[in-house]
């Protein structure tokens, strides 16, 4: 079971996939690829406050992925 959280104006949009269901994995991967092409940054995080790490490629085995919109210097 994996979870994709996309930060947006509603707080975040959640997409959950089951690794046994290929259509769910494909939908999550499609969203991941679409948004990272737009410049979104993807991080994998684990529960319990561990530090996140950046991910470049979708991996359905990851527990949670957070997609953040573009960050700029102010």
């Amino acid at each position: 079971m994996g979870e994709l959280r996309v930060l947006d104006r509603t707080g975040d949009t959640k997409l959950i996939w089951d690794t046994d269901k290929q259509d769910e994995v494909d939908a999550a991967e499609a969203m991941f690829n679409k948004l990272t092409k737009k410049g979104y940054l993807a991080y994998t995080v684990e529960k319990g406050g561990k530090k996140g790490e950046q991910v470049k490629k979708f991996d359905p085995e990851l527990e949670k992925i957070i997609l953040s919109p573009v960050v700029v210097g102010g």
Binding site: R5, L7, R9, G11, L41, G49, E53, I66, V71, G73
Partner: protein, 168 residues
């Protein structure tokens, strides 16, 4: 439709036709009571619209806070709620990320450097989402984080009041 027309003669009539699109139609006169009623109705509509927008923003902020709580745990989240600041431990130095619009303090050994970095669309995003994005960025790729952030000078550590999260 009625138009204001004060001229006489064919010349004025020609110009009247020529400029028809630019002439302001005469507004029908309304009573003061009617005007007050329309104004009150308009104000009520505007307030309802703004209240709905505010409710949406509050809901989005609550959702963002849930995610942050999930990431950092109750203890750190309580400090964040109270101070509006989140202490993030990078691989090299620590950062204080504020809820208010992209102000970040990089805490070095003997100085505090002000950085400015934020989401490109921060005006439409919940503030806590911005904090989450900066926290993840600083932890995952500290070099890129510092390269992207603009630096705004530094202040002495003594003059800067470090919140509880940084002292603990």
């Amino acid at each position: 439709m009625t138009y204001t027309y004060t001229g006489t003669g064919a010349w004025n009539v020609i110009w009247m036709d020529w400029n028809q699109g630019y002439i302001t139609p005469v507004q029908p006169q309304i009573s003061n009571e009617e005007y007050q009623r329309q104004r009150a109705e308009y104000t009520k509509e505007q307030k309802a619209r703004l209240d709905a927008l505010q409710a949406e923003r509050d809901k989005a902020e609550a959702t963002a806070c849930d995610l942050l709580l999930d990431l950092i745990g109750e203890e750190q989240f309580a400090v964040y709620k109270e101070t509006g600041r989140l202490l993030v431990k990078g691989r090299e130095v620590d950062y204080l990320i504020t809820r208010e619009g992209g102000f970040v303090k990089r805490i070095e050994k003997d100085k505090v450097v002000d950085l400015c970095i934020h989401l490109a669309e921060q005006s439409v995003m919940p503030r806590t989402d911005s904090v989450i994005a900066l926290k993840l960025f600083a932890e995952a790729d500290e070099y890129a984080f510092n390269k992207k952030a603009n630096r705004h000078g530094f202040v002495d550590r003594d003059r800067f009041q470090i919140p509880k999260a940084a002292v603990a």
